[in-house]
């Protein structure tokens, strides 16, 4: 197909979880000046909304953005895919080989345009075109580049005081907010089930090879917001004393000990005095014989790119870390230090071509590890979590600008996870609900604002492209809701949701001797299960391993389940909490039909939603939040200062990219170009 291109260069700035409704609030307050410039110079709806695909879950929506097809069509229908073996288990889904629709980046690469797909968590890895014009970086998890495969060590807080008499180490301590990091009783802090392999379990080699992940969501304690907001990190306590036995310790410095690598790696450290006699820096050394430190940290400044050896499973490799002083007593009687997780700097397995990794490392810098600790600990959110993302955003912006300027990429699809990562840790604290009444919503609303401000800063790094002939799309997969109520135990994306379905009598759990449900499904009595965000599966004879429902009874059973779900009332409020229910064949109306969408699609009603995923894509929440994704376009081929009334759907993005670049539509595309915003008739 021949079509005249409206632009030759196009950048998609994807921001996971970015919500147009709250963006409008911050725009009105003047807090997102760079986004405002893109809007002023480009085109969008007045509400800057995109009508999101359903489910409002990361991999399906990014795949829809890339293919122009609905989830029922492209087959990526939740964060996880249903296990082919078990109704109560899920398997890894961020694998492009599961995607049944063509990605628009294959179209651009095969048409001869140099195309980069950067950490796009929806059907990007492994590359699905052999075109030498296509480069792909990671995309196997939504977090940050290399996070799923290169992590060698976990985050730590080191506390040193003269009162601590010996070095102590406690791995993965779930620390209640506000409690100091002093290890008083190791027996209490040690958790025998320390889960240091979450990255691998979810996104690692085993997961990517199809390993089953079995997660039961039975009560509030199993929900993601409760688990995600707990702050867990390694704690090291050390004596703080006069430096002794050093090859090169400055006058007056005091020493303490840092442990890494599950405790087996030890680094001696010094606190250093300034000319005024106050302690204001921390220096970390390989050992006391070393003449020069690995790094010198100053107060209030996070440093990344710190390379040091890390040992994991008896293998030692150089890794990249970030560090920051959390507290340093000027008199030298207390120091608290944060050190990030460690990323293996030699791991290039998710870079195509691998040479791009070396070029990025040499010309931009090592991948900065992002912090995953924040949650209910406001100090860590303020001092560590948010600044670590700010550093990462800058690194990513520099990488993309390097790729554009120095490597000649003409089409770039990029994804940034800062807002969504923060959302999953702390958005639920943006309204003080009873389970977390010890927190203050104003504090967390302030953090939400900070993440939007840092995102705006990121956008500012690309404004220059509008003067260089580029077209820029700013968009997201979904927004994030601050919940009005504690959500019911149905619709959680991570696994099998038992509570509501158990109450309604469809899912039956085995019982212990006291009659309490245990984490095992009684398949002989279970007629249906609710698994992943929005799907209900009938336990069908002949289809499912332990099926008990005769296929001839399936239709009536579905009707009964739908009826019971509509009649179900929330135990806390007495209100209906189920939104819509559709049989699989009817769910084609919203694009969630077909073999990957269960027997019944349902949504959770507005007002009872968790962050995203369980609602329809138009739901709104507290603090001016919504689950809608955002869409703004600007630059070459786009009308300037233009507002459209057209409903812009997520499926319309890929065909718009195709038209702007003068390319054919992706093969399974179901959307239509947003021709109203184009500068020329097409």
């Amino acid at each position: 197909m021949k079509r005249t291109a409206l632009t030759n260069k196009l950048l998609v700035l994807g921001v996971d979880g970015m919500d147009p409704r709250i963006s409008k609030k911050f725009l009105a307050e003047g807090k997102m000046p760079n986004l405002q410039k893109f809007i002023d110079r480009g085109a969008a709806r007045e509400d800057i909304r995109l009508l999101g695909a359903i489910p409002t879950i990361t991999p399906p929506c990014w795949t829809t953005l890339a293919t122009g097809a609905y989830p029922g069509t492209h087959g990526i229908t939740c964060y996880w895919r249903q296990s082919p073996e078990s109704l109560d288990a899920v398997v890894y889904n961020m694998d492009s080989r599961n995607c049944l629709a063509e990605q628009v980046w294959n179209v651009s690469a095969e048409a001869g345009m140099k195309t980069l797909v950067w950490h796009w968590p929806g059907s990007s890895w492994p590359p699905t075109s052999h075109s030498e014009n296509l480069s792909v970086v990671d995309g196997t998890q939504p977090g940050s580049v290399n996070m799923g495969v290169a992590q060698l060590d976990w985050e730590k807080v080191i506390v040193a005081t003269p009162e601590i008499k010996e070095v102590r180490y406690a791995p993965r301590v779930d620390k209640p907010a506000g409690v100091g990091c002093i290890i008083t009783d190791l027996e209490d802090t040690l958790d025998n089930d320390v889960d240091d392999e979450m990255m691998e379990l979810w996104w690692g080699d085993t997961a990517r090879q199809g390993g089953e992940i079995r997660t039961y969501v039975m009560d509030d304690e199993d929900t993601e917001v409760v688990i995600g907001s707990k702050v867990a990190y390694d704690i090291v306590n050390s004596p703080l004393k006069e430096a002794a036995g050093w090859a090169n310790a400055p006058e007056g410095s005091k020493e303490f000990t840092v442990l890494t690598s599950g405790g087996v790696m030890r680094r001696p450290a010094l606190i250093l005095k300034n000319a005024a006699g106050e302690y204001d820096r921390v220096a970390i050394y390989k050992n006391k014989k070393a003449e020069t430190p690995i790094v010198v940290l100053e107060r209030d400044k996070m440093v990344t790119g710190i390379i040091d050896d890390v040992t994991k499973k008896e293998v030692t490799k150089p890794a990249c870390r970030s560090m920051k002083i959390l507290e340093l007593d000027p008199a030298g009687n207390r120091v608290r230090l944060w050190i990030s997780n460690a990323l293996d700097i030699s791991n290039d397995q998710l870079w195509h071509p691998k040479s791009l990794y070396q070029e990025i490392k040499s010309n931009v810098g090592e991948v900065p590890p992002v912090s995953l600790i924040g949650g209910e600990d406001a100090e860590l959110v303020r001092e560590i979590f948010e600044p670590s993302w700010d550093l990462y955003n800058k690194w990513q912006a520099d990488c993309l600008n390097y790729a554009i300027k120095e490597k000649g990429y003409e089409v770039v699809f990029s994804h940034l996870h800062n807002i969504d990562c923060a959302g999953h840790q702390l958005w639920h604290l943006g309204k003080t609900l009873e389970p977390w009444n010890y927190t203050d919503e104003k504090t967390y609303q302030g953090f939400i604002e900070k993440f939007y401000i840092q995102t705006d800063k990121y956008f500012g790094e690309f404004l220059h492209l509008l003067d260089e002939g580029w077209t820029v799309f700013i968009l997201s997969d979904h927004g994030l809701i601050v919940g009005e109520n504690v959500p019911p135990i149905i619709g959680e994306y991570g696994g099998l949701n038992t509570k509501v379905m158990e109450k309604l009598g469809y899912t039956v759990m085995k019982k212990d001797e006291n009659g309490n449900s245990i984490r095992e499904v009684d398949w002989e009595k279970t007629r249906a299960v609710q698994i992943r965000s929005n799907y209900i599966y009938i336990n069908l004879k002949g289809r499912d391993k332990y099926g008990i429902v005769d296929p001839k009874d399936k239709y009536d059973l579905e009707e009964q389940i739908i009826s019971d779900l509509y009649n179900y009332r929330d135990e806390r409020t007495g209100k209906r909490v189920i939104g819509i229910c559709l049989r699989n064949k009817d769910a084609v109306l919203i694009g969630t039909n077909g073999p990957e969408c269960g027997d019944i699609f349902f949504s959770v009603e507005e007002g009872y939603n968790r962050l995203h995923g369980d609602s329809i894509s138009t739901s709104e929440g507290y603090f001016d939040t919504s689950v809608s994704p955002v869409f703004v376009a600007a630059g070459s081929g786009i009308k300037s200062g233009f507002t459209t009334e057209r409903t812009i759907r997520q499926v319309d993005v890929a065909p718009s990219v195709a038209v702007l670049l003068g390319l054919r539509f992706p093969a399974q595309c179901e959307g239509a170009p947003i021709y109203q915003i184009f500068s020329e008739e097409v």
């Binding site: 008499k165 010996e166 070095v167 102590r168 180490y169 406690a170 791995p171 190791l186 040690l190 036995g245 000990t257 442990l259 690598s261 599950g262 405790g263 087996v264 790696m265 030890r266 001696p268 390989k286 050992n287 006391k288 014989k289 050896d309 040992t311 008896e314 030692t316």
Partner: protein, 108 residues
């Protein structure tokens, strides 16, 4: 026993600050396997005098060190050189395996 016992603080000084090449066996008094492995180390020690240190940690007296290295069970022999961990041998190990590991650490 000729092996020198370490506690948390002497561990810091000898293993890390002095950067000596050495091994440390984590053992428990009532552990049967330890009762076989420790005497074997006792016998080996004189051959390495001045070149390679032999130490032990009683995990009941110094539970903190045991936990710090995330160890599970005893005996475990940890090897160090230049203040860096060099790997470990666990359980009932033969003399040859220890000698081999020492040679590896000394030649590293």
């Amino acid at each position: 026993m000729s092996l020198q016992q370490l506690n948390s603080n002497s561990f810091e000084e000898i293993i890390y600050d002095d950067c000596e090449s050495c091994l440390v066996i984590f053992s428990r008094k009532d552990c049967h396997v330890c009762k076989e492995v420790v005497p074997m180390l006792d016998e080996l020690k004189p051959q390495y005098e001045g070149k390679f240190g032999f130490f032990y940690v009683d995990v009941e007296e110094d539970k903190n060190l045991f936990q710090r290295f995330s160890l599970k069970g005893v005996p475990q022999i940890l090897f160090f050189a230049n203040g860096e961990y060099q790997g470990k041998l666990a359980g009932k190990v033969e003399e040859e395996a220890v000698e081999e590991k020492i040679a590896e650490v000394l030649n590293a």
